[in-house]
Symmetry: C2
Subunit: 626 residues, 2 copies
């Protein structure tokens, strides 16, 4: 690493209107003369990396006489030059920049000083983050408590945001791969970059582009590798596809008919929009190229046996094919896709799929299967489903873009284990006109290990991926179920109705831990509740309707609250007077009520009543709606 | 607040062998002379509270000449004296002490300096905490990352612990109600208290004692206020008591027989060990006093209508009764107690209770009902149950002591909303010979509000209560269910078996979030698994046995792992080949296997098979076993 004189770095910062201490550079022999005191004297030497460690920095010099005395002393270090700068005091902040394999150039802001590494009060900021995103990121640090004032001094968050924007520009324009400014001092006169290290290095940006083609143009569909064997994937997909409005072409050279439909040879196909491929991995490349030459643009590779078993080259080859012919290639090693527009189920899942508004994107086939199974039970519908598999070509950014072009998709839900193209992913989130729900697995170090052995993906740093995605506009979810449940209950402030205070308190904790809010009840509502509830009710949300609550009391309460929130958790504990069956029957009438039955034996009938409607068995589990 | 000269505080610290900077005090007119440089000059004045703010502190004075020049300048502040001290550098730590209403004198340790309030990297330490507890507390801060070395310097945690012990002694002995030492500098020569504020104030300790009497001496039992009305509490308790081996005396002046047993008048009773009281609140006091005079020592007040409806005086009266006659008075406003020794169910709960090893203490009757309902379903047994209610007299510390005296209680589970006698509570935890599982509600500010309106208890600061209890030895639980489930699975490192990588990763996250560990598989086990699993299995815990896992593969895996951990989570996602019914039947054979069925439709039969064995429906919910 090339060592730069501090003065050179200061000059670079000044080019971007970033304040530095006032300073002067002197030749070795020159007499020192400065006019701001106290000041700092530093040696300048290309041979000294850590000036402080060798005593090459002297603080709190009080006048020019002292300055020249101290200088004499420092000549023993044999520096090329001397630098004198004003000594500043203020709150220590930190701004740094790194080059990340997934997200490219990313800024880091946080608390500075010696304790940077210990407290790690930091936040990540994409180099393309908007002003609003930067502000939000800054507010996510504890350091933000200094705004608008701390210990009698004023600190303006907008000044900090504007400084970060200057560093965005600098980091983008200059050939720098890494830098850290520690500290940035927030002095009484404003923000000053005091100590700076830069690593000059040219970063070659991986450019990645793809012309617009629609994955969901699914009029003519080929299923390649259909099977007569019920235990084979090729059988399941063929069967699932039967109800579609698309023209389905089964392909297998070995037999002629399946489900009373003709089975084609590959060579017979023409005008295919999308081909689903469920054949041994070694024939996949050839098959795609054959169809691509005939104009097919979209491919779903179901077949496994690629990266996940160490076969990386085959995926690189597929990627090349995609670029050469401008294709969408989903997979390999995926479960397939679903497109409600054509009522087209090209997955090998065994669940029936209802039409609806969720566009579900899942990196894991198993998680997808689980969610489809649950959705089918509760009749939660999808507009589209995309099982991403190994993502040799088609990635999350593409999937978000595709779903944005589909009118019947109203909400996009993503289950991700690792992200490859961070920049594009953030861009797609920012551009999305539809809300994006995002669950990322692999929070802990140990979990990362598990993810690695599973997907062969390098799971990026959880915190970085999640915080950057959140800043870009995604809603971070904390359970896989919430990807399908929470879309049922439009974003809102939550109401809790309960016949017991304790569980109401615990659920409040959980709601707030999940960054959701409880609705504050207005006077009018409280007055209405006063009329139907005993005097000891909580007068507050959680609405504690007291242990002896009858079914009628639940009903009266919900009649008053039903239009006040789209999500009302209703807690029932099985106390002496509690008629769980009757209460369950009443709750059925309220679409936005989600019961939490806190018990087992006493709720056998209640659970039967709620068999096909969402209910929970524990407070902990209920937050999967959030 | 009385202002002390810094020198006086330094002298007090020295009395406890706490290092301070070397210093000298000078009269106003005296010529200054010091021998350690750089040094700091400070004015000493009873009229100046914040010396720094008025310029009364000058740092980095380099020699005696400069010292006297600076002094001249400071005479304008008209100080009584001057203090000169050596200037030190080091890592900034913080030690403070407060008097808390619940826990009495409590120490706080953490990162010091300006950012103390911003970073709040602190930990609470009871004034009676042992060396081991202190060390653990220090390790809970981020600052602990400096041990054993940071940036080339060595830092010894034992030195910090020993310093905290000195402050424990000082805080205990001196008439101080609050202090903060910020910073304590960890210099190259050791720890030095540089800046100190103390608030002198005498704290009168609330003394609270009670002679030993046994709540569970239950040979002769009176139930006062039995009822013929099926909807009344007095009916339910009477009915629940019928199977007991104790002599049960029903009391009600209004009728003669109930369940074919004689109903007594209060005056007829003699030799009663424990009386359960379910009569209107206004008659409770009289009734207790009447029986107390006749020698009854234990009372359970079921009746409501006390503090929870604003009737505080009645509870103070009950407390006085308890002190006067040396009684145990449980409640009021509680669900009752259960004592397996006499097969005695004195609750009005409707669940059947199995005999077992858990002693369950619950502040909320509703939470208790819910847990009893679940326990009954899964045949989880209790040695004792105590519903605490408003805790006018009998408190958590008493309950822990009582359960420690019962041999058949092997584990103590506590559900708490607020703690009243913090010191006694911690002492009881420390003394307990049985493991204590502890769930505390009211984590968030908002939740505190809810708790307040419910219990009338001032819910103490969650963080303080939980961290002090944990240091004292309690195991902190994150769901109410874990109070009964987790005792089934002896403390151990967990194994995850899964047919899908994604959910395995997510569960790993959740396990680690709950401060539990995954078992590391040894070579031998891995080799054994290699023989029965496909080549692509994860070779690791989570044990990913791959999407096409058959029932036999689950069985082979569990046969190898069954003795390796007491808790094996088994994840099943409903993939194409997954025979959920067969797998469920196999899992039934392994007592320590807890299945997580990730889906709905595909698991209908599997769930029937597991009807009376613990299983989960979501990853999130499964952690209630931890």
């Amino acid at each position: 690493m090339q060592i730069s004189y501090e003065s050179e770095i200061y000059e670079l910062l000044k080019k971007y209107n970033i304040d530095t201490p006032k300073y002067k550079v002197f030749d070795k022999e020159e007499k020192l003369k400065f006019d701001i005191f106290p000041c700092v004297l530093k040696v300048m030497s290309k041979n000294i990396i850590h000036k402080s460690d060798v005593g090459g920095v002297v603080l709190n010099v009080k006048n020019n006489k002292e300055l020249n005395e101290v200088k004499k002393n420092l000549l023993r270090l044999n520096p090329e030059k001397f630098l004198v700068e004003e000594e500043l005091a203020g709150i220590e902040l930190f701004i740094g920049g790194i080059y990340d394999n997934i997200f490219g150039k990313v800024l880091i802001f946080g608390a500075g000083g010696t304790l940077l590494e210990i407290q790690k009060d930091i936040t990540y900021i994409d180099i393309k983050a908007t002003k609003k995103e930067i502000k939000q990121a800054v507010l996510n640090t504890k350091t933000a408590k200094i705004f608008p004032s701390f210990r009698g001094n004023k600190y303006d968050i907008d000044e900090v945001v504007s400084l970060i924007q200057k560093f965005q520009k600098l980091f983008k324009n200059e050939e720098i791969s890494e830098f850290d400014i520690n500290p940035i001092l927030y002095t009484k006169k404003g923000l000053v970059a005091v100590d700076a290290r830069l690593k000059f290095e040219k970063i070659v940006n991986k450019n990645w582009k793809r012309k617009k083609i629609s994955l969901f143009e699914n009029k003519n569909v080929a299923i390649i590798g259909v099977s007569e064997n019920k235990n084979k994937v090729g059988y399941a997909i063929a069967k699932n596809s039967l109800k579609s409005k698309s023209n389905i072409y089964f392909v297998n050279p070995k037999f002629k008919k399946l489900f009373n439909k003709k089975v084609y040879k590959l060579e017979e196909l023409t005008n295919i929009d999308i081909a689903v491929i469920a054949i041994p991995p070694k024939s996949v490349f050839q098959t795609i190229e054959f169809l691509a030459k005939k104009g097919t643009k979209n491919f779903i590779i179901i077949s496994a046996g690629f990266k996940e078993v160490g076969n990386k080259q085959a995926e690189l080859d597929i990627k090349k094919l995609s670029i050469k012919y401008n294709l969408n290639i989903v997979g390999p090693n995926c479960l397939g896709i679903y497109n409600s527009t054509y009522n087209l189920n090209l997955t090998f899942g065994s669940s029936s799929i209802y039409n609806g508004e969720i566009g579900l994107i899942s990196q894991s086939g198993a998680v997808l299967t689980a969610l489809m199974d649950k959705a089918s039970h509760y009749k939660i519908g999808f507009s589209h489903i995309i099982s991403m598999g190994n993502m040799a070509d088609f990635n999350f950014a593409n999937a978000i873009e595709e779903l944005n072009n589909q009118d019947n998709c109203k909400i996009i839900s993503i289950y991700a284990e690792g992200i490859q193209y961070g920049k594009e992913f953030l861009k797609a989130i920012r551009k999305s006109k539809k809300p994006i729900l995002f669950f990322k697995s692999g929070k802990s170090e140990r979990a990362k290990k598990a993810a690695f052995s599973h997907t062969g993906n390098i799971a990026g740093d959880y915190q970085m991926i999640v915080s950057l995605s959140k800043l870009a506009g995604a809603k971070i979810k904390s359970s896989i179920e919430s990807l399908i449940y929470s879309s049922q209950f439009e974003e809102n402030e939550i109401i809790i109705v309960t016949n017991a205070g304790g569980p109401g308190t615990i659920l409040t904790d959980l709601v707030i831990q999940n960054s959701k809010k409880l609705k504050t009840l207005d006077k009018k509502t409280i007055n209405q509740l006063n009329k139907v509830l005993p005097n000891t009710w909580s007068k507050n949300n959680p609405v504690d309707i007291i242990g002896d609550a009858t079914p009628k009391r639940y009903q009266d309460t919900l009649d008053i609250l039903k239009d006040k929130s789209n999500l009302i958790f209703v807690i029932i504990t099985p106390q002496l007077m509690t008629d769980t069956k009757e209460i369950a029957q009443i709750l059925l009438k309220y679409k936005n009520a989600v019961p939490i039955f806190l018990g087992e034996e006493s709720f056998k009938i209640a659970k039967k009543i709620f068999e096909n409607r969402l209910f929970f068995n524990s407070l902990q589990d209920s937050v999967s709606v959030l």
